[in-house]
Symmetry: C2
């Protein structure tokens, strides 16, 4: 869900790029180790031979490096609105991923972790309110930060035994609006692929 | 070490502000709960009645809201250099605080946690290199992100049984340069106060 952010931002800005996958479960490439020696994690954005690490940092870099007068920026120009967008990006990074992972990467804590995730998603839904996107009329930074998790909702629902659409209908309607954008539709994997990948992982971990 | 960042940024920008402390060990104020309902944490910067949360977010907001043509910005204007500054700010937030806290808030793990912290500080020292400040000639974002931890170095040395100056001499020289700035000298508490506060906390936790 982190690499998707970078791809969506590049697509939104109509920046051509070459996409390379990493086989993280086996051997990390020498390029990854050279370009992100500190964290050794994906995604890494390489521009003019220089690396930019951390996905939300990349989204901001893309927004600043390829401004387009004919299109909206991913981040608002007003400092207060920028600070709010970054606050929510940080909230998503700190909360959604941790609770989401606990649902499928533990045994016996699934439903409890899912209750926690639903509270987090409800907080986000409250922030969204009746707006089209998190920033208002235009798709941007917070939408990009969150939408990648949508392809994992099937996993959360399966192991957490919950319907996210029942709990957070406005958030699901927002996700469906985002998916109508070519940038999002191209970057997000099919939910079934994620579900079957996690099912295999859990079987290997002895959870199924 | 987080609230200090905001105060240093405000002082650097010569912004007048009113400073209020919170008694976090007892009862959080209604103002804090109202202004940061999501995390209920300090520091909160309130400007024009609206809250900005998360300390590095505040530093960036201050930099953007009070630009000063006669002084350097806290963040560079070049998008690549900005992305690098933010990468290191994020690294400090994710790594230094966690390892530092493990040194004094655990019993029996102190020296192991301190070894981890020294590796983290050496990574930062390598990034600093022979520069005056992290950003080069001018004091800025990464310096502000890290310098607050300097007042905790005495705590880390005491419980981790190490001399940080022996391990990271360039980093200590950098910290002393920072302390020559009025903004930093005003914001940082005396190291002895931090050491005796932590000694009391450890005694209460039954660690001493």
């Amino acid at each position: 869900m982190f690499g998707m952010r970078t791809r969506i931002a590049l697509e939104e800005k109509k920046v051509e790029y070459e996409y390379r996958e990493e086989d993280l479960l086996n051997k990390k490439s020498s390029l990854l180790l050279e370009m992100n020696p500190i964290h050794k994690k994906i995604p890494v954005l390489i521009h003019n031979g220089k690396p930019i690490c951390e996905s939300l940092n990349q989204v901001e870099y893309i927004d600043e490096t390829w401004p387009d007068k004919n299109r909206n920026s991913l981040l608002p120009s007003d400092p207060y609105k920028r600070s709010q967008a970054k606050f929510w990006g940080d909230f998503i990074d700190k909360k959604v991923n941790v609770a989401g992972r606990r649902i499928w990467a533990t045994k016996g804590e699934e439903e409890e972790a899912c209750k926690e995730l639903i509270e987090i998603l409800k907080t986000l839904e409250l922030e969204l309110g009746d707006k089209i996107y998190f920033g208002g009329e235009t798709f941007g930074y917070v939408d990009i930060a969150l939408i990648g998790f949508y392809s994992w909702f099937g996993v959360y629902e399966k192991y957490g035994n919950v319907s996210i659409e029942t709990e957070c209908p406005k958030l699901i309607a927002w996700a469906k609006r985002c998916l109508q954008r070519e940038s999002v539709a191209k970057a997000l994997p099919e939910p079934e692929k994620v579900t079957s990948f996690i099912s295999e992982r859990r079987a290997k971990l002895g959870f199924e």
